[in-house]
């Protein structure tokens, strides 16, 4: 799978919305946000996450948003229970952050982005 095509392929297959990094090759951060339906809480979480990422990981991250109502079978792979859950796939170790990501300080701690 060539870079660039992968995300598009996955989107078709799994129905993920993928936000590509602005600069290729630097996507050392791979994040996945699980939501269940386009709720207000989900929208808030996405917004919070995008804001943090743009500020701290600009151009270095890849973010997938997975809607479990559309792809319930995907919940098993990452052992998702709580909604919303943000999974840091890369860099290792894997981390899970639950909640609407409104507490920015804690999100940064959870993503190991502190201190800067």
């Amino acid at each position: 799978m060539k870079p660039g095509e992968g995300a598009a392929g996955r989107r078709r297959k799994g129905g993920m919305r993928t936000r590509m990094p602005s600069r290729r090759g630097l996507s050392s951060w791979q994040l996945r946000l699980y939501i269940a339906g386009q709720t207000a809480k989900a929208a808030a979480a996405i917004e919070n996450l995008q804001r943090i990422c743009e500020r701290r990981l600009h151009g270095r991250y890849q973010l997938e948003v997975v809607d479990l109502l559309k792809n319930p079978q995907l919940a098993r792979g990452d052992q998702i229970l709580a909604i919303p859950t943000l999974v840091r796939k890369l860099p290792p170790p894997m981390k899970k952050i639950i909640g609407d990501l409104s507490d920015e300080e804690r999100v940064l701690v959870g993503l190991d982005l502190r201190p800067t």
Binding site: A36, Q79, L81, A82, I83, K96, I98, D100, D103, R106
Partner: protein, 594 residues
């Protein structure tokens, strides 16, 4: 009972002893539980199964699911919070559950939910929608009617904010109910509460409590229905066991005594004893007890009957809790009972086990298994009193009740022996089974005059005319010898006392015989004396009589001569009227002389 739902229980008559209920029930598939709960778990509602570690919660849940899928066409979802799919399948495979096959057939779905506290950080509001999504996905994938959540409480350890969890669990149970899913939720026992996180607050329909305790180093598992909304249920603690066939709850009272009573008879193998029992022995399919103190001959009587059954070409299963098979063989040979041919022919099986080898429930199962495999005509348990070592009095009694019921329903004749401790009343068995048995033989050892003698009597024998007499029996190398006890002026005697008394009786009787002979002789001589005197008297009389006759002849001759002479004189003197007055006087005198 073959009916499976609450609907059918509504049709039952009022006199039916089974629990009555108005809610629909789903067969749990767990042996015995459906009898206690009157049909199973509440259909479409959650049931909480709680207990300490190792009490069998997960197994209970798995059996509920597997049996539902395999036997009742109710597919199920197992949501495991503790063990992975592979672990679960492997753990229950030893119990004969083919989980992997059912999964492959899409009749069961297993979802392993792992929650690792260390990996999770909370950063704001959240809910457990992910769990719902997974559950729904699993339910839809197999068309599930049943769900297991094992152990949902792990979430409390794995996720922050218990308040959110509580409200989400409440929502989850509501969700399950709305989808009409029959659910088993397991929960770990807490300190002073049924579950550590108070799950019982949310599950209000049915709560079962499993207990695994060790009493005197022997483990016993018990199940109790803590609550069952909308249904009556058995409230006792029911022993249950886990074996190769899964869980078996043993409701003490569930087996109704419905077996048809046979009027066929089974010989005890001792003709004299048969004679005492209405001439024919025990009834087939009854429970019979031989009780007695140590050394009174219980095992001997039991083996005699076993041998007789085997000789008739039937099978006997002998549970020996005191002696090994070879020991019994050797001991019985000493009284002329050779078990070797029966053992070799396979008609007799001696199952020798120490009672303490495992708990009572396992004993019961082992016995059930052995009976089912061997299909005996006679089951001997020697002695039942030894089972006391494996449990409490109450447990033993309930075990025996269940064993008796089980054998009775199958029409198997049973012979129990029971050791009566020396100090107690003889007519009291340690296990208190006497009220459960149909025929009770009592063996006594009577000590008198420096010896012990065995007496056998029948305390009770239901449904037959039986002897009220005690008989003495002796064991020798020729087998059993029955002797009537001495019943006479000296009371009831046995042994040497009986022999002595009998000798005395014989002597007394001989003396009387002699007296009789003597009197007879006396009478004889008396008669002879009388007859002698009689004959002498007759002789005397006859002699006198003859003399008198002679004298009379002489007188008559004299008279004739005188008359003749007077007539001649008158004729010669031509006297006057000779025929007048003087003649009349003469006539009278003559008459006097005659």
């Amino acid at each position: 009972m073959a009916n499976s739902s609450g609907r059918s229980s509504q049709r039952r008559s009022r006199s039916d002893p089974q629990p009555r209920c108005s809610i629909e029930k789903a067969w749990s598939g767990i042996r015995g539980l459906d009898e206690i709960t009157g049909g199973g778990l509440p259909r479409g509602r959650p049931t909480l199964v709680c207990g300490g570690p190792g009490c069998g919660k997960t197994l209970f849940a798995m059996e509920f699911l597997v049996r539902g899928a395999a036997e009742h066409r109710e597919p199920g979802v197992f949501m495991s919070f503790e063990e992975t799919e592979a672990e679960l399948a492997a753990n229950v495979a030893s119990l004969g559950f083919q989980v992997e096959r059912l999964v492959a057939q899409k009749r069961i779905a297993i979802d392993y939910v792992r929650v690792e506290r260390a990996e999770i950080l909370e950063t704001g509001e959240f809910n457990l929608e992910g769990l719902f999504v997974r559950l729904q996905h699993a339910v839809e994938s197999v068309g599930a009617r049943r769900v297991v959540l094992d152990t949902v409480e792990s979430l409390f350890a794995g996720l922050p904010s218990p308040e959110v969890l509580r409200s989400e669990l409440r929502r989850l149970f509501r969700w399950l109910k709305d989808r009409n899913l029959t659910t088993v939720i397991t929960g770990e026992k807490g300190e002073g509460s049924l579950t550590r996180y108070g799950l019982e607050e949310y599950v209000s329909d049915c709560v079962l409590f499993l207990d695994h305790r060790i009493i005197d180093q022997i483990s016993t598992r018990r199940l109790r229905v803590v609550k069952y909304r909308g249904s009556t249920h058995g409230t006792n603690e029911y022993p249950f066991l886990i074996d190769e066939g899964g869980i078996s709850v043993l409701p003490i009272t569930s087996l109704a005594l419905e077996g048809a009573a046979s009027s066929e008879r089974v010989s005890t193998g001792l003709p004299r004893l048969d004679e005492m029992l209405g001439g024919k022995g025990f009834y087939r399919g009854t429970t019979n007890l031989v009780s007695g103190t140590a050394g009174s001959g219980k095992t001997s009587i039991a083996t005699a009957m076993a041998l007789d059954v085997c000789r008739e070409g039937k099978r006997c299963l002998y549970f020996a809790f005191e002696e090994s098979a070879s020991q019994i063989q050797r001991n019985m040979r000493s009284i002329g009972i050779d078990l070797e041919p029966c053992l070799r022919a396979g008609s007799l099986r001696i199952s020798s086990l120490r009672p303490s080898v495992f708990g009572l429930e396992m004993h019961l199962v082992a016995m059930h298994r052995a009976v089912e495999a061997f299909e005996p005509e006679l089951v001997v348990v020697d002695p039942v009193s030894n089972l006391m070592n494996a449990g409490t009095l109450l447990d033993t009694r309930s075990l025996l009740t269940r064993l008796i019921d089980y054998l009775k329903v199958r029409g198997i004749t049973t012979l129990f022996t029971s050791l009566t401790p020396g100090g107690n009343s003889l007519e009291e068995t340690e296990v208190g089974v006497s009220s459960l048995v149909d025929t009770w033989l009592l063996l006594e050892v009577v000590r008198s005059g420096g010896e012990r003698n065995r007496l056998l009597s029948i305390i009770k024998s239901r449904g037959m005319r039986h002897s009220n007499q005690a008989v003495e029996f002796r064991l020798s190398d020729r087998g059993f010898g029955f002797l009537d006890t001495y019943l006479g002026q000296g009371g009831v005697l046995s042994g040497s006392a009986r022999v002595t008394q009998e000798a005395e009786d014989r002597a007394a009787s001989a003396a009387l015989d002699q007296e009789l002979v003597r009197r007879e002789a006396l009478r004889d001589s008396h008669r002879r004396a009388f007859e002698a005197r009689l004959s002498a008297l007759r002789d005397e009389f006859e002699a006198k009589d003859a003399e008198l006759v002679m004298e009379m002849e002489e007188v008559r001759g004299e008279r004739d001569r005188t008359t003749r002479a007077r007539t001649e004189m008158a004729r010669s003197r031509q006297a006057f009227g000779a025929s007048q007055a003087p003649a009349g006087k003469r006539t009278r005198r003559k008459e006097d002389g005659a």
